[in-house]
Symmetry: C3
Subunit: 311 residues, 3 copies
């Protein structure tokens, strides 16, 4: 693997999932692979799971880990040809070039604006690092994608599937704040690659980017959509068409134990209890959220392993 | 040791103090004990000594150390059954469960509100981690206790005691800000367990929780109380009865060289010079503050060692 | 080396430069030199290059690295004899003494006020650490000096010099913000020690401290000064005489490809494009800014190596 900014970077998905599961059984098997190499975790936005799981995965492989909250440094300039006489102190060309002097791998987290659709879709931060850094880049959640989360989710589904072709439903849920589409986008792309019966349910107006959902069936009737589901992945996202807007906070879309039935419940976390999902589900035995969080480590570790093997 | 959230968790105090002193002589003797294990240091409040000494202690034992300032992540919800549609993004149930996926030990610092006595006494943050985390919890100073500081203080007293049963006095001092009772509480509990002649002196109204001070003698006359003291531990705290309030800033309670006489001076630091204690004391030969700070490392190390041995 | 707070601390400059270049070829040759030792990186101000390069250098030598943003802790008091009843919570005497309990080397970054010339020239923060810490101190950029940057620059010049006595010009450039003189000061002092033909060019009123520039020739005519230069080091600084003030933002002082000619371009970064220097220069083949940034690691590493060898 040369980088991991999008799911496409995985050459062999089923092999990669198997490899992750075997790393989970023996996390320190390759503890010398990263020796004398350094990964830099670069955060433009706050992080809990992604930071700790990626740091742990890197240490498991013997990598040195350096962490930088960009806000502890200064504002970066991303526009070409600007006269930098305002608030930005360093251009991404220098920043990415310099960071490449200190790190063998750079992992970046940069959320969308949710106001400028074009800019967000251009992945201006992540793609600038890809363009100007001279080392492999890992996406720790960008404006439009969260491929490490999607890989952890794929690992989790393959661990808990009881049928050859499980039914997986992505169900929108209400949320008081406007959230990115990144997690939903990457989950959709990942499910399209797995041998699952996949569909999406959300209120009208919450359609994700059609270039991502493609032929995936979308059902505006949650109850119908959830029937006989094996895995229900619940997530809020703001509108893509009416970009970044909250069109509905309809409580009827909250996930409940009754709706879930015997299906496994999945969520990337953090989750707002009794808004996105009721307590009974999270406190019940069908919740896989902790297993998903745990698999974040091994998703990151298998990606780092494959990148290190090609360094 | 299964955890270290309170002094009671130490099964054999005198043995533990001896063990800490021997670790001080050879800090790296057990440098492989923590191999392939990770400690997470979680800060809800700022820290200098506690953070660096605990990090160093963990590294001395070969532990991987991950540090997270919770404020760099987001607000946690601690109430049960809440509808999380306000400012909290993640419930402690998920947070503690998730963090337990990445760490073998979690150390937590969370100060009191000093406004809600009941809530502070319930140790809502620390006890929530105890309840929902699946790994051992260490108290890096909670609302009502600072057991790592108290252990470092006990080590220091046992190193510098010249008599079989030294006289130790805890003396309140003025301070411009309302401070927690945590350090004083834990010092009192620790002294009650040591073979020392212990008493407390403070202005009326500054009585600590009677369930903690128990039969410990309290003298409102500082001069009387300090007579023939071997160790004088100076500390400010806000009122417990009139909870969190500053009842006095009486400069006469500041510790001076004259009052101290030949006694050893102790303070957990940080200390405000010429408010809590005059320069002459801190700059004199009877001050043990640096030795106390140094022993923070070995207090943390002996606790981590005993926890690792039971993991 | 007992410390590295100023360039004078280097006993043999040409040997040190040679040693740095050999470390660059084999960064892990001395990876056990720092074993069981800890460096603390202490930041009063934000940092990108200095933090990452110093952290990397320390890890290359097997040092444990602890990083503390002082602002995550609390305000330190530097005045003697103060009654600390205001905003400062801990005196540098205690802080430096305590930090010396946890670290074998302390590296400090503390920028100038640019308002109080006397205080800045006294290097009150750095010199207080020198005075009260009991371990070696490294200057990661102080009020008036940036000796690690100057050493990296010297390494870079010695790597790229094509003539026995290259012509090096330090050229002031405009900047929207008032910047310290630290980088310029240390570069001047370093060039005075190398076998180079060195001169400075800047608008009138931007003279650096005459006790630093000494007999170094200063030319107010940039075009004249740049003639036949081999290396042009561009940097903005605020006025020293009219302390901390911006006297000019004259765009004609911006470095251009035309002015630069065949000379190598140097800058410590971060740099504001098309204000300090035009895109064509940074994007051209004569720019050494990334090589300078890379050499920050080996400047720090050779300093740490020499300090560790005397610990």
């Amino acid at each position: 693997m040369k980088k991991y900014t999008e799911i496409k970077d995985i050459s062999n998905l089923s092999e990669t999932i198997k490899e992750a599961i075997s790393l989970k059984k023996n996390p320190h098997e390759f503890e010398t692979l990263g020796k004398h190499k350094t990964i830099l975790l670069l955060f433009f936005n706050s992080s809990l799971r992604t930071r700790l799981s990626t740091e742990k995965a890197a240490r498991n492989l013997g990598l040195e880990v350096m962490i930088l909250n960009v806000n502890d440094a200064w504002n970066l300039e991303f526009e070409d040809g600007t006269i930098m006489n305002a608030n930005t102190s360093e251009h991404i060309k220098e920043a990415a070039g310099v960071l490449s002097q200190y790190a063998d791998i750079i992992a970046v987290r940069a959320f969308p604006s949710l106001t400028d659709k074009e800019k967000d879709q251009s992945e201006w931060v992540l793609s600038s690092f890809e363009k100007y850094a001279t080392v492999p880049i890992i996406n720790m959640e960008s404006a439009m994608a969260h491929p490490l989360q999607a890989l952890a989710d794929a690992i989790t589904i393959s661990e808990f599937a009881n049928t050859p072709k499980p039914k997986v439903v992505l169900s929108w849920a209400p949320h008081p704040k406007a959230l990115p589409q990144a997690v939903a986008n990457s989950f959709v792309e990942m499910m399209q690659l797995l041998d699952v019966d996949f569909s999406i349910t959300h209120p009208e107006g919450y359609e994700l980017d059609p270039e991502i959902t493609k032929k995936t069936s979308i059902n505006y009737n949650q109850e119908e959509a959830l029937q006989d589901a094996d895995f229900v992945y619940v997530k809020n996202w703001s509108s893509y068409s009416d970009y970044g807007k909250i069109l509905s906070q309809d409580k009827h879309w909250m996930m409940t134990q009754k709706k879930l039935g015997t299906a496994k419940f999945m969520h990337c976390l953090p989750v707002r209890r009794n808004v996105v999902v009721e307590d009974a589900v999270l406190d019940g035995t069908n919740s896989l959220v902790l297993q998903q969080a745990n698999n974040r480590t091994f998703a990151a570790q298998v990606v780092l392993k494959q990148i290190l093997e090609e360094l």
